[in-house]
């Protein structure tokens, strides 16, 4: 009998351990009553494990109210005013949210200086981040007024190369097709919100790339390629993919993606 009790204790301890271990299950419901706790746990994890996330929820109206300071860079309608900043309109809320978490973790690469977003994100609460992400996801990028044309107009060949690379990759160079994760229409992962067996949505934080700012895409792709973006499981996937990209491919891809219109298709 003593042994049985001991065994039961072990089991209980095991469960408790599973909860406290937390590192790879930070988003398990059992360990996190609210997303606030989630983010808090994640701030100390070695990396953000986005394989086990659930879709976030937020208050779009509250997000709109909090978005005033964001609009300065990301545009009133979520379309960035300069190419180096990402447009947020129509972006998957989960992507935006987890990007903010990454800033909050102070894990975003910024070259010589701290990225401008890092101090801005530091003051955001978890609810703020969720509200903002939901708000921007709800904006219709197609409805936004047209912005200035790209600084460097792309050539038809460049767009063609970018499209081919996006849709088919380049096996000879070890580049998989981007559409596998970002969708054949570049609107994000086709199973972004499909729950897996455990009720998680591991692909929810894979961004839509359609119509994204070309310079921002170039910057990000280069960061991935150069191994500077290593803070989440999706970063690890993307680093593996981007490592084979050369500058020309990055240009081609970014140009083609930026050229896509939300309205079309």
């Amino acid at each position: 009998m003593r042994s049985v009790a001991c065994a039961a204790l072990c089991l209980a301890a095991g469960h408790a351990g599973a909860q406290s271990a937390g590192q790879t299950s930070a988003l398990d419901e059992s360990s996190a009553g609210t997303n606030t706790q989630v983010a808090a746990a994640l701030l100390h994890a070695p990396y953000s494990d986005l394989r086990a996330i659930r879709p976030i929820a937020g208050d779009a109206e509250a997000g709109r109210r909090k978005s005033e300071s964001c609009a300065g860079c990301h545009g009133e309608h979520g379309i960035a005013i300069v190419q180096e900043f990402p447009s947020l309109a129509g972006q998957h809320a989960d992507f935006t949210y987890w990007q903010l978490v990454e800033y909050k973790r102070d894990a975003m690469p910024g070259g010589q200086m701290t990225p401008p977003m890092t101090p801005l994100a530091a003051d955001l609460s978890d609810a703020d981040m969720r509200d903002l992400a939901v708000y921007y996801a709800g904006l219709d990028p197609a409805a936004a007024p047209a912005t200035e044309a790209a600084a460097r107009p792309a050539t038809a060949e460049q767009l063609q190369r970018g499209e081919l690379l996006y849709l088919s990759g380049d096996p000879g160079r070890g580049i998989p097709p981007c559409q596998g994760c970002h969708g054949s229409d570049a609107r994000g992962h086709r199973d972004a919100l499909r729950r897996d067996r455990n009720g998680r949505t591991p692909y929810a934080a894979y961004p839509a790339l359609r119509g994204q700012q070309a310079a921002y895409l170039r910057l990000k792709l280069a960061e991935y390629r150069d191994g500077k973006q290593q803070d989440s499981t999706t970063d690890f996937v993307m680093s593996g993919v981007a490592v084979a990209l050369d500058d020309a491919s990055i240009q081609d891809l970014s140009a083609w993606l930026a050229s896509l219109s939300w309205a079309a298709n």
Binding site: A7, G14, A18, A21, T24, R51, N198, G199, G240
Partner: protein, 848 residues
């Protein structure tokens, strides 16, 4: 290499040559050979020899960056997590990883108890372990070594050297122990040798029961252990993409002792007479196993040729034991010559050769035709021991024909043949066709012919005296009961009934099988098999048995969360007429000069007996297996199995039913936690019936004079077992915890009923009988806990503790606590006993 000096050496050379011709050789695999597992009780998987269970956790990153859902097998079970192997380090052309540990095991409690230490022979002391892997990425070479040492009797070192896809050489040395008794009280000295002599306080054939009991009681309890030491070498070589050659050789020596018998006739009917000894017999032998062959594989053809050989050698052909008690004739006033020692023949040295050819060809309809042929020979030609070891005379004086001169029996000249010269030749031919006319249908047909032929006859005939038979029970039987010596002669012993020749057991099997599998849809498949076996046996009760069996299989995956498998088998065995005494010709009753005794030749056995290995039988067998794929990375598994056998027997085994079930739950919620819990239950019931003989008459019929209805009795043995287990591996930070609990509770209850006290040896005891034996019990707990704490990257400490407790009761040994010598019965082994033992270990592990 003692074994090579025998006359068989030439044959051995021949097979060595064969080995060389049949190019090289493959390491053992699931198709051939043994020694596929290297591990021990501290690390049964053999995966973590450096410091034991639980130290190799899961890769904390998981298996994939893409998803956190644990990968499952197609059936739905969770794969073991990818282990957190240390990264390879670079060293020139080679990369390597590895770890070794030095530890100390401390035992307390009943550490020697047989049930606790059976296959480990636990002892306090240093233990060592290590595992290293070297790889040369430029050409695929690798070197892999695993070793663990708990003590001299439980250790292994296994090394692999190879080049991926080219060759693989395996070498190993291992010691495996088998504790056969931990509470032996031996009245003999020289345990382990082939001459057991009585303790100095005892005189052969002249000691009293009290003297022997005193010596037995004063002996310390000691362990009898048999240790196997084995060395092996094997190679698997890709000559080309088509040809693979393989070969293995191993040598094993066994040494030690185990409890064994020692017959000097009955004691139960004859107080202060006879002798029933349990001796600690020596084990001292060795075996060389060889196999080798070549395999050819192409897209359409496949073939394989393999040779296996095994050569068993003993250190001594016989072993002797002195006996403390004298036997005396039941005839008052007579005194038999003293019999001071008994003898056993060691299991004979034997040679085994086996050749096998498999040929397979792809045929039309996406099918395969395959042919397998094998032939082998088990042979032995041991020097035969003389029938007796005595000097002077044995038997009973005065009564004519009952006293024998030892000189006529203690020499090889007393044998009809000096050597055994026996063999069994086996041959097997198997042909099968599989056709897959569509993706959803598979047809199968096979035919098999298998035969074993005995070669060699032995007559128990003494050319020195012209007598047949043998001195039974070391001469004791004939020293107690007149005309029961076991020796037949045309004179005074002309009515003596005894065995006079060996019993060849030829067998021939013809088997046909037809089966069809149909996939009904993507989630359902059905299979059915009909098979017919006809077995012909020489010199057995049933000359031909016919087995018809029908098997149904159903597999269902309709639900994403359930994999269900069901199998049902019906088998019916019929056969030719049951002949209750096919052994007549092996008895002296078949000799020309045999004189039928006044009351006739007693019946060999009751004619209603049906021996279950050849008798009729109807069997139903079912198993159901369900694997539930649950959320949160859990799996639940349930299975039920039943086996119901009805033997159409009035006397003999009548039925054997077994039913069992098990439940298992597995959980891998994170890479830090791996947990499983299981519970199992099974029970079985074995029914038998028998009848006590009332008189020595020729009537074999149940209900007749020999086997009267009144003497019938029935017995039922029911077994009931519960089992459970739990494992938990948990990583907390850098600390690894492991816990393991294993429990079983078994109860065996043997009950009986009888028609009248005539069924009993001592009818007067009938009133005292309870209808059942005391329950046979075995309840065991084993709990182990371990913690591994890394000090830095390359150094960690592991502390573990295992506590085991067992409660056992085996009615065979009830009363032994009051002494193991009862009248002329001497038992050496005290039987299984309760235990409670603790093992604590401390290990320092160094990673490279």
């Amino acid at each position: 290499m003692r074994m090579l000096q025998r006359s068989q050496a030439s044959r051995l050379t021949l097979c060595m040559v064969l080995l060389l011709i049949a190019p090289f050789a493959r390491a053992q695999d699931s198709g051939l050979g043994i020694d596929l597992q290297f591990g021990n009780a501290l690390d049964p998987s053999g995966l973590e020899p450096s410091s034991g269970i639980g130290t190799l956790g899961c890769d904390p990153d998981g298996a994939s960056w893409l998803t956190s859902v644990r990968k499952r097998t197609p059936t739905g079970f969770l794969y073991a997590c990818p282990p957190d192997h240390p990264e390879f380090l670079l060293g020139g052309e080679w990369q390597y990883r590895g770890a070794f540990s030095v530890g100390y095991l401390g035992l307390s409690g009943d550490q020697d108890n047989m049930l606790f230490s059976r296959y480990s022979n636990w002892d306090d002391g240093l233990y060592l372990g290590g595992s290293f892997r070297y790889e040369k990425p430029s050409d695929g070479s690798y070197f892999d070594v695993r070793a663990s040492r708990i003590n001299d009797d439980d250790q292994y070192l296994r090394a692999l050297y190879g080049r991926a896809g080219k060759y693989r050489i395996q070498a190993f040395v291992r010691s495996q122990s088998n504790v056969t008794s931990s509470n032996a009280r031996s009245i003999w000295e020289g345990i382990g040798s082939n001459n057991l002599t009585l303790n100095g306080a005892l005189t052969p054939a002249s000691s009293t029961s009290a003297q022997v009991a005193a010596v037995s009681a004063s002996q310390p309890e000691q362990s009898l252990v048999v240790v196997r030491d084995k060395q092996g070498l094997g190679i698997n070589y890709f000559i080309s993409p088509r040809w693979v050659a393989f070969g293995n050789i191993s040598h094993e020596s066994r040494a030690g002792a185990r409890p064994f018998g020692g017959p000097f006739f009955f004691n139960y009917p004859f107080a202060d007479n006879g002798g029933a000894y349990e001796i600690p017999r020596p084990i001292d032998d060795s075996t060389v196993n060889l196999n080798g062959g070549a395999r050819w594989t192409g897209s359409a053809w496949r073939m394989e040729f393999a040779y296996s050989g095994s050569f068993f050698r003993h250190a001594n052909g016989t072993f002797d034991y002195q006996v403390p008690f004298a036997v005396r004739p039941v005839v008052p006033g007579l005194v038999s010559p003293l019999l001071t020692s008994g003898q056993f023949a060691y299991e004979p040295e034997n040679d085994y050769h086996h050749l096998r050819v498999n040929l397979t060809r792809k045929i039309a309809l996406n099918g395969e035709f395959s042919l397998a042929a094998s032939g082998g020979e088990l042979s032995q030609n041991d020097q035969l021991a003389p029938p007796m070891t005595c000097t002077g005379q044995f038997g009973i004086p005065v009564i004519p024909g009952n006293l024998y001169d030892c000189a006529n029996w203690n020499t090889s000249a007393a044998l009809s043949r000096a050597r055994a010269d026996l063999a069994i030749k086996t041959s097997m031919l198997d042909a099968r066709v599989v056709l897959q006319p569509g993706r959803d249908v598979t047809w199968r047909a096979s035919a098999k012919y298998d035969r074993q032929d005995y070669q060699g006859d032995y007559d128990a005939f003494n050319p020195l005296t012209g007598q047949w038979g043998y001195p039974a029970e070391n001469g004791a039987q004939g020293s107690v009961v007149p005309f029961e010596s076991g020796i037949w002669d045309p004179g005074p012993g002309a009515s003596n009934i005894t065995r006079i020749r060996n019993l060849p057991l030829d067998r021939e099997l013809l088997q046909f099988t037809l089966s069809a599998d149909v996939r009904l849809n993507t989630s359902n498949s059905l299979g059915t098999t009909y098979s017919f076996d006809r077995t012909k046996r020489g010199n057995r009760e049933v000359a031909t048995t016919n087995d018809h069996s029908l098997k149904l299989t159903w597999h269902n995956r309709t639900f994403d969360w359930l994999t269900f498998r069901a199998n049902y088998t019906y088998l019916r065995r019929t056969g030719s007429e049951y002949e209750f005494n096919p052994y007549e010709y092996t008895f002296s009753t078949s000799l020309p000069g045999f004189v039928i005794p006044p009351n006739g030749v007693p019946a060999h056995t009751v004619s209603a007996m049906r021996k279950y290995d050849v008798g009729g039988r109807t069997q139903h067998k079912a198993d159901l297996m369900a694997t539930f794929v649950l959320p949160s990375d859990m799996t639940f598994y349930a299975s039920v199995r039943g086996d119901w056998n009805d033997y159409s027997a009035v006397i003999g085994r009548r039925g054997y039913d077994a039913l069992g079930g098990s439940l298992q739950w597995e959980w891998q919620p994170t890479t830090a936690t791996v947990a499983s819990v299981w519970y199992g239950f099974d029970r079985s019931s074995l029914d038998l019936a028998n009848v006590n003989d009332a008189a020595l008459t020729p009537d074999p019929v149940l209900g007749g004079a020999t086997y009267p209805e009144a003497n019938r009795w029935w017995s039922r043995d029911r077994q009931r077992n519960h089992y459970a287990g739990l494992t938990l591996n948990q990583t907390v930070g850098r600390i690894k915890l492991d816990a393991n609990w294993n429990w079983s509770s078994s109860r065996g209850r043997t009950s009986y009923s009888f028609n009248s006290p005539g069924a009993l040896t001592t009818p007067a005891l009938a009133a005292l009988l309870t209808g059942q034996f005391p329950d046979m019990l075995y309840r065991a707990h084993a709990v182990s806990l371990g913690v591994a704490i890394p000090v830095n990257r390359s150094f960690s400490v592991r502390v573990f503790d295992r506590y085991e407790r067992g409660r056992v009761s085996d009615w065979h040994y009830l009363g032994f606590e009051n002494g193991q010598v009862l009248d002329h019965r001497v038992d050496t082994d005290g039987g299984p006993t309760d235990y409670s033992a603790n093992l604590i270990g401390l290990a320092f592990e160094v990673k490279l």
